[in-house]
Amino acid sequence: MRSSVYMRYELLRILRSRRFVILALGFPLGLFYVIAAPNRNVQNLGHSGLSAPLYYMVGLAAFGTMNAMMSSGARIAAERAVGWNRQLRITPLTAREYFRAKVVTGYVMCLLTLALLYVAGATLGVSIPAGEWVRMTILILLGLVPFAAIGIWIGHLLTPDSIGPTLGGMTAIFAFLGGVWFPITSGTLQQIAQLLPSYWLVQAAHIGVGGSGWDVRGWITVAVWTVAAAALARRAYRRDTKRV
């Protein structure tokens, strides 16, 4: 009961922070319309046999949710800067309850991002068979787990000043090497890319364009990143009791 009240207020907080919500949700949505709308009639993008709006919608589903999830780090850094983190430490709130609230609020933002992108896609004529659509959504949500941990980790490591550029840089690298902007299909680059969680997040989203999802490597990579980032997040949280 106690953690559900805490969680409810955490959610209320995030939904009330209007600027954050508008930017976090508006960014992928805006980007989608800017890229996809002028190409709405391209039905065979780069000889892939896919329509442009469909291709960009699934790409942005991966990119937008990755951003939304990791941006929880920026909120954590801001809370630490005003000393709120220390105030919570002198309550009985456990690390587990704290993490759970952060992860759940991150997922709420991701679900809103996906919902908006799906609706936006539909307005440009995107349609995906129901089965694929469900599979894609579930696998994206699973692929976001390591990003939830990474967000919490850097949130407890960095200051509000440094977290903006760090998040920007990290998501840019993750997106580039993960194949958000163009498909990575062979060579050394693909071998590197396959070691990143963003590659598998993009693969999850690409179920929507006929992709097959994850093979064993995918599951292992996502699991390893999750375990490692969660351990780092726990460590950073435990150490993070100093005055900032």
């Binding site: 106690r2 207020y9 907080r13 009330r16 922070s17 005003v82 002198i90 309550t91 009985p92």
Partner: protein, 294 residues
Amino acid sequence: MSGIVLTELRKSFGDVRAVDGIDVSIAPGETVALLGPNGAGKSTTIDMLLGLTRPDAGSVSVFDRTPEAAVDAGAVGAMLQTGSLIRDLTVRELITMMASLYREPMPVEEVLALSGLGVIADRRPLKLSGGETQRTRFAVALVSDPELLILDEPTVAMDVESRHAFWTSMRAFAERGRTVLFATHYLEEADDYADRAVLMAHGRVVADGPPTEIKAMVGSRSIRATLPDVPVDELTGLPGVTRADRRGEAIVLTCSDSDAAIRALLTRYPAARDLEISGAGLEEAFLMLTGDGA
């Protein structure tokens, strides 16, 4: 049940010995002021008391428990020195959220009434004045109905009126038999609101006793005068003088009663001239007590 026991507590940050071996015991129900200038080690001591900082050496016991166990049991509430409120929740929502973290919290309406927040309970932190923000932070500290309430320089950013209202609230809480420890660098606050004052300087406890005693100690004045050829021993015997020093032609008298001392000085030594009387500031008094001023 014993209250708060700090034993041989030490904490360094690099070369700086923030807390350099302090022993303090606080009985349940006592209101104690932790007095000292900036950098005396007050906040570091409080951080260790709350389990936010691990001591290098020594031990902390809060009602026979570790600080962490006391915090988990909801026995401790604190208003930390640095810190502001999170935005996006009203005062009432914030208190309700914090109350949900405890097994037996104080009812939210009672917290709001005790901290004088009734009127502004539905406002968000960005709309609050400095004093209102501090009172809200006070309410956050009260929400667990703690056995031990810790306030780290709570009246910073408050005007005189808010200060008065704040201390009245604190008193009302202390009168429930709770233990209160507050850090301040205002001697008057210690004198007016604490049963006892613990003076810290350079990470050490330099005095510990009733505030009036501390006030007499640090609230002393000194008289400086040009008066050659009188032995220091004679001057020490003057009424109201606790100590006399010679600096060349000049003498410096440290006084417990400067009025009596100056009358006696001028009566016995009419040749004394260039008189100056100065109140020892808290800072100087600390330096004097720690022997760094010599």
